[in-house]
Symmetry: C2
Subunit: 355 residues, 2 copies
Amino acid sequence: MDSQDKVEETIESREWYLASYVPEGVPTSDHLKLRTSSISLAQIPDSHVVVKALYISIDPYLRDIMTGIDDGLYLPQFQINQVIKAYGIGRVIRSKESNFSEGDFVLSYAFPVAEYSVVQPSHLLLRKIDPASEISFADYLSTLGPAGFAAWVAIEAIGNPKQGSNVFISAAAGGVGIHAGQLAKLKGCHVIGSTGSDEKVKLLKEFGYDDAFNYNSSESYDAALSKYFPNGIDFYLDNVGGKMLEAVLNHVNRKAHIVLCGMISQYNKVWTERDGIRNLLNMIGKEVKMEGYMVGSFVHRFGDFAKEMETYKKQGKISSKHVLYNGIESFLDGLGSVFSSSNMGKVIIQFNSKA
Amino acid sequence: MDSQDKVEETIESREWYLASYVPEGVPTSDHLKLRTSSISLAQIPDSHVVVKALYISIDPYLRDIMTGIDDGLYLPQFQINQVIKAYGIGRVIRSKESNFSEGDFVLSYAFPVAEYSVVQPSHLLLRKIDPASEISFADYLSTLGPAGFAAWVAIEAIGNPKQGSNVFISAAAGGVGIHAGQLAKLKGCHVIGSTGSDEKVKLLKEFGYDDAFNYNSSESYDAALSKYFPNGIDFYLDNVGGKMLEAVLNHVNRKAHIVLCGMISQYNKVWTERDGIRNLLNMIGKEVKMEGYMVGSFVHRFGDFAKEMETYKKQGKISSKHVLYNGIESFLDGLGSVFSSSNMGKVIIQFNSKA
């Protein structure tokens, strides 16, 4: 990356916007479209900066806020014609805000999925990151980003599974699962994951999972859980919902704890079409506690999280795996890939950057 | 009641036993049968007593332990040919146990549904009750019994809803609901109940509920909850499960708490036929905590409970309503009535007693 950007007074910027809501199914080019806007660098409003995007994190929740329906995660929905925003990293190329200078590398949870954007740092909670840090930009978006934070909140702030307890994590090779499994292992738990391919089963073992199974194999969920949890499940971090959650409720131990982080198997359906969980009565007999959470409610813990994860990262106790998609054009494919179980690790869009 | 029983050396005793498991539907005379046994009063084993039954409490959990299937409440199932046991009160007519004397009134959570029984007090956790107490026998089985205790555990020991919070209770005119509503009112909550008839709606208001609705009316559950909870639900005590639980999950406030006490709408179905809850994703967006419990895990709190409830009872702050069924023959009808929404209050079988 060069330290300087050479741009004309007016620049062209491609950006993804929501052309129509996506009530069901995986978003397609009917719903998300790329357009080109012009940005006049001569007319930047006060307390704004111009940022050039470098990396965008793809996380499953993005899908849930393209429906136009206020349910499920209850996050503010993207509006029609609005530029998509996601966790991302960029570089300041012009600044009319005294806290930011040209050349600063910056991160936001609401980075526009656009080559260039004129933004107000306070609106986006834009913060600077140090390019000389041992933490790579990709790690800022995974281990130190939404996936790592969601994993940390589930394991450290909410669940706190005891040493020796039997922990199950679904979508284990996804961004949250990879980190959650490692955190649970650091607490001395026996950790098993489910994932969508034999290759990913292998990957999970490399990341320290005691074992893992491929939910796409011929074995039923019930048979797999019987095999991998002969002594039952004490703690379940649910990233998928649906039939796997139902199967788990037939294998829970007394006083089991289920933390609901996401339900990736359910996002592509309207709620009335989602899988119904028929055995919640087991929650009474087994005195199960189930709770959902949103990382947004734990921002006051972000400092603790970042400090702990950076330490683990530097000590080599936590590692991550990324799947890089190249170029702003790849955003749609990258998003779709999260729902196809084809990825090995955290999906990140890398812009074709000359920054 | 006379203070003395005149019995022959051998007495005939009718008793209800499980003739066949009840996987689905309401138990009928095919499943539960009455038979007559003989008890020889001359041959009572050491540390046993003979008790004559006076009152038996009918509680919905009894249905769940007649299936022969180890799921749902996970309580030990009744075995084929075994005499049914329930929360009940009786009187000792013979004793070979030094702690019990003829004439003692006794209570157990596992009282045989039989006119007379030879029992070992320690096995049944038999305890004496004072007939001169201000607490009536019926109240010992409702307010001071399983229904009152289940309500107290949900409201006081687990849920502890805050003053001013919006509380919803289903099966509100049942034994648990009647007590839970009064306890929540004593905590300053705004309490709404659902029940199966307009008559019971009236009853609930007499018992201090702020309002109530008839779930059998033409209005959808969703419409009713919109109407009675314009500001959403903060705490839900679920006694019914199924479609009502699903409807509630579309009306919960952020950080709502759902305590699962029972699922009376679901007991008569095998688990795969039970209503599936399709909107658990809302638990993530609204950060809902849902937990099931069994009163058996709170026996260490029974003393606190009994003390508090007796005080409330004597102060007139908690009242109860009982539906008495007469005679041991009525046990089957009494049990069935719990699932037909025909009762106004706690169902109790009163034996045709000459005790």
